[in-house]
Symmetry: none
DNA sequence: TCACGCAGTGGGAAAAAGTGGGAAAAAATG
DNA sequence: CATTTTTTCCCACTTTTTCCCACTGCGTGA
């Protein structure tokens, strides 16, 4: 499981070093093959290849005539890019993906279970402050949440 | 079960000595592996690794397209950091987490059953005074609270 | 009252991780 | 097919992190 906030930096060539604590797990799981795609919140998602493939299958199977489904397919499958971890534990984030997420030099890699989210530092901070102050009364909670005891 | 208020101090490198009375229990439960994450009230939560993993599993399973669920995932899983107790019974609290909780030198470790809360001393005192004077009439209690006998 | 021991604290050195640059290989273009 | 540009791979340097050791202060017991 991936978790936690990790400061990462992108160099002039768009290379990003993955935090060492995850590297062994990534090697085991997918021999360094990862897939990067986009999220509607203007961050990037980074999956180990096998995990991505499973999601991709689910997405492809969705009903093609459903608008929501096509939107998801186009966004997620359409932007999915396979990358390999190099000898220094770095991956190459393409210019298009960096631009999409507003990524400059300083990024944050956020562990989210089976995947990472990759945010521009500034965007993340803004969004996070929003989530913290946001009033959540009146919103519909999934029933799983109602009974959650942390 | 963890309970009680414990004064703790953080050194320049962010290291914090855990109170001795809990160390054996922490060794038994998780061999010194703890997870620190954030709370909406701007304090930190400290879980023994197995307790955290159970919560994490529940969080990860929540539906990805639900806004509330993603918010919780990003805040809690996204900030969760695994730490190890060192030979001197200390754990390392990262700069980001310290900053989040406004933690400087003096902190309070509050036992809360299966976890601890870690507060900056000043914030805790202010918040506690607030809870004591807060007027809760007119608020609707969940049914579990209605029948609570203390 | 003095000595011993343990918990707490700080600092420093060794190791590991991160970063940048350059050269070689590959690809693209005319 | 040759030249130019892009990409990839490798090496070396710098910074950060981690681990270990030593000192201090307080409490306890002789």
């Amino acid at each position: 499981m991936f978790r936690g906030v990790n400061k990462v930096s992108l160099d002039a060539k768009g290379r990003m070093a993955l935090p060492t604590r995850y590297r062994d797990r990534i090697q085991d799981r997918c021999h360094g093959s990862l897939v990067i795609t986009v999220d509607r919140d203007y961050c990037l998602l980074v999956y180990p290849l096998p995990d991505w493939e499973e999601i991709e299958r689910k997405l492809i199977r969705l009903p093609s005539l459903n608008k929501q489904a096509r939107r998801l397919q186009r966004l997620m499958v359409g932007h999915a890019t396979e990358v390999e971890m190099d000898n220094n534990g770095r991956i190459l984030v393409s210019g298009e993906l960096r631009e999409f997420a507003g990524l400059d030099r300083k990024g944050l890699l956020i562990g989210q279970g089976n995947k990472f989210e990759l945010w521009d530092e500034t965007s993340w901070n803004e969004r996070r402050d929003g989530w913290l102050t946001e009033d959540d009364t009146g919103q519909d909670l999934p029933s799983e949440l109602e009974s959650l005891s942390l």
